[in-house]
Symmetry: C2
Subunit: 170 residues, 2 copies
């Protein structure tokens, strides 16, 4: 036996929490206009989930390159390819104030990578967000104007993170 979770459990708890957070967020954003940002395409599993549960939303997916399952690959018009430190600031201008839900799933097992990418998202996502937008993330973030929310039932503590954005001065 062991105190820390195994690699299998880390994946399990993260996916379980992500699934619960997404289900919670899908309900919360219902009736509010806005587009979706998915940071990190990976194999395309979460993109597939988003397009099934949010069929009427515009979804934009960010990644360095496309390594997804062929049937989980976004339309080229939905893909924003390149280094997040370059693509995210530009996209935040292009889609200023229109993102109602951002799912950031860009962590790895490298602390250096996680710290760097969490810094990029924290610094550059803000201008894209609509008032009331939700950010779900596999890493802790500090986007100005956001507060951290408790996780919904079914998500283990610290396995995923939820933030709500309020535009100041509104």
């Amino acid at each position: 036996m062991t105190n820390s979770p195994s690699r299998l459990e880390k994946l399990y708890y993260r996916i379980e929490a992500q699934h619960a957070c997404l289900a919670w967020a899908f309900e919360r954003i219902g009736g509010q206009p806005g587009i979706i940002f998915e940071l990190g395409l990976g194999l395309g599993r979460t993109f597939d989930h988003l397009r099934r549960y949010l069929p009427d939303r515009e979804i934009y997916v960010f990644d360095r390159q496309i390594d997804s399952y062929p049937e989980c690959t976004p339309d080229p018009r939905q893909m924003i390819l390149g280094d997040l430190s370059e693509t995210l600031p530009k996209a935040a201008v292009r889609f200023a104030g229109s993102v109602i839900l951002a799912n950031s799933d860009v962590g790895s097992f490298s602390r250096e990578h996680n710290s760097a990418v969490s810094g990029i998202v924290s610094a550059d996502l803000g201008p894209a967000l609509a008032d009331g937008a939700l950010i779900l993330s596999d890493l802790p973030l500090s986007v100005p104007g956001t507060i951290r929310l408790p996780l919904p039932p079914g998500a283990r503590e610290d396995c995923y993170y939820i933030y709500r954005f309020r535009r100041t001065g509104l």
Copy 2:
């Protein structure tokens, strides 16, 4: 909305079921001698899980090559590298009758691959198994001498499979 699960849900339900089945199996094999077969190393997550929960068991891991996280990579003496159609029959002779738990996690999204690999495991694993051995699998198997068992609580139906082996003539 959609009727069929998304790719994210397919992964989630499979990991959830695998985790529940492994926890169930760890209890069941307690006190019974025998070694462990892990068919499919992948990133090494399940191997990491097995070695944490079964620290006193010999574990042998089968795969074509090593693509695991460095810290989840088995000792070379625990790895049996090569095509399963060649390595499994040999290992079944080498470890005849001594495997108390086999976890077979070798499926993909290719039906042809799944059908082929499920046929190999079904045909070649049997001689390795101890009387009363449990087989957990992400694919349906038909190993002679086994019966399929119901899944434990927490595992969704048909997301994983459990079989118990009884040596005939005992």
